[in-house]
């Protein structure tokens, strides 16, 4: 039987995909995300697809991390606060060498290390387990504070969902991080404009979102969350804000379900698992987009 890894890499015709290229890594995140949701009958594929470029640019271009030394003391920290998109991080870690790609096939399975929401237990490269929303930014602020107390230069990145910003704890930390002048704390919102049951604007509207963050004392910038060059520039901007005394947030405008036409902007794909003809159709669309 064909291995999991051979199957998800088959579009590369026997060549090893270059996960150091953010476009390739984003594609691999989607391809693995589709396969993992299909095998596990798990949900949240729409969020995995919307966050794909954000995670890809972080691992391919931004984070100072070493798969050979995942606990390296001066590594950058990444917290996926929207833990339900965990398979995106698992895929990025596996494809960049933190653990074997083959293990992704165990996602959701009995006895696996790879729970549906991102887990740090025994998984190299994951700093913090999340799943309940509104936790990650505070933990990241604590890490950034600790780094500053130690005069360390490493950065803390926290990826949030837009729906997650309904949580009061996000805004508690927005106040604290500004008060404590945590300018090596960088938040990224996967702003796919949809949450669990409906569009964000029909649930708890966040706009004017950028000025909300600015009013809380943050540097804020919006960008296209699927444009890897734009994302890279946004991260360079955020890194350049070290010294401003203000934390930074990137509002990455994304499309939920991005990459598969019938999943895009359809709330159904927050929960639905791709099976049968839907799986085949999604696979055809992704394979046609291989960079």
């Amino acid at each position: 039987m064909e291995s999991y890894e051979a199957r998800v890499h088959s579009a590369f015709g026997g060549r090893t995909p270059d996960a150091g290229d953010p476009r390739v890594l984003a594609w691999l995140i989607r391809r693995n995300g589709l396969e993992m949701a299909h095998l596990s009958r798990g949900s949240h594929i729409g969020s995995v697809f919307s966050v794909a470029e954000i995670i890809a640019v972080l691992y391919a271009r931004v984070l100072r991390v070493d798969p050979a030394a995942p606990k390296m003391p001066d590594r950058d920290r990444l917290i996926l606060s929207k833990g339900h998109a965990g398979s995106a991080v698992y895929a990025a870690l596996a494809e960049t060498g933190f653990f074997p790609v083959e293990e992704l096939s165990t996602h959701y399975a009995n006895g696996s290390r790879l729970s549906g929401h991102v887990s740090h237990k025994g998984v190299p490269g994951v700093e913090v387990s999340t799943g309940s929303l509104g936790h990650g930014l505070a933990v990241g602020a604590g890490m950034a504070l600790g780094a500053r107390m130690d005069s360390e230069a490493w950065r803390t990145f926290v990826v949030l969902g837009d729906g997650e910003c309904d949580e009061g704890a996000v805004w508690e930390t927005a106040l604290q991080a500004a008060q404590f002048r945590l300018d090596r704390l960088i938040a990224v919102v996967d702003y796919n404009h949809m949450q669990s049951l409906d569009f964000v604007k029909n649930t708890l509207a966040l706009e004017p979102f950028e000025s909300k963050w600015r009013d809380f004392g943050w540097n804020a910038l919006s960008c296209d969350g699927h444009d890897v060059n734009g994302l890279e520039k946004a991260f360079a901007w955020a890194e350049g804000n070290a010294g401003t005394g203000r934390p930074s947030v990137i509002l990455a405008n994304t499309v939920k379900g991005k990459g598969v036409s019938f999943m895009e902007n359809d709330i159904l794909w927050h929960y639905r698992t791709p099976q049968g003809e839907e799986y085949e159709a999604a696979l055809r669309e992704l394979e046609a987009q291989r960079p």
Partner: protein, 316 residues
Amino acid sequence: MRDAFVRALLREMARDERIVLVTGDLGFGVLRPVKEQFPDRLLNAGIAEQSMVGLAAGLAATGRKVVVYSIGNFPTLRPLEQIRNDCAYHGADVKIVCVGGGFVYGSLGMSHHATEDMAVLRAIPGVTCFTPGDPAETEAVVPAMFQTPGTCYLRLGRGNEPHAHEEPVPDWRFPKAIRLREGRDIALLSAGGILVELKRAAEKLAEAGVSAEVVSFPCLKPLDREAVLSLAGRFTDLITVEEHTILGGFGGAVCEVIAEAGCPCRVHRLGLKDEFSAVVGNQAYLRHLYGIDGEAIAEKAMALINEKRTDAGRNP
């Protein structure tokens, strides 16, 4: 206990520079010496307990021991999920300190009565729960708390309360129960600041010719099982007292040990029944009202003793 805690904390902070204190905008005056001696290791997180505890977990991940300080239910029930997910699940070296366990802030009303914290915190895996009975026990357990890795909970009483121990408690060994008074007829057990009421009860009972043993459990979890089983072997009736609901707290923990061991021993739990403390009153008033002051404990003990004597008379 609050002042004993601050004294012990200052000693530990002098000894270990990794200790950092985060307050939820409370402790005016009490925390002043910390601010004076270790200004770089004191942080006010504001009135934002959820992110205070999450932030503490993140700080702990950078190699620190983080003390989170607040009052009543604010450092426990409010950020409960942050304690469970961010601290305990990650083995974070966060020490949650509550001043005002039970009815300390009695007249402020139900919101300020910490009467479910022990039950809730001890249910979280990996959380070690310290429940010192008086200032002397507080000074004894604080160093042990900092030697205990991972997430801990420290439940304190108030400032300026009477001492139960006449002397300091030297060489306390984690997680041992402490016997205050040896007795023959009945045993009184407690966790937390209610201990002084047990001592008063024992004194009253002594006047009536009843010899009561008094044992404090400054560590609720892990509970000193050997001490419980030893008491269960020596007494037919144990009275547990807690300034807390009787559901799932100290009395419940004692019952678990005794039921699992199959001891032929009855446990009588004194504490708040399944109800809110909705009455206005100070700590002494509420302790009396809810049947956990020295007088009420002594009455319960006398009733049990008389019951036994009557039974013995019927079945000589």
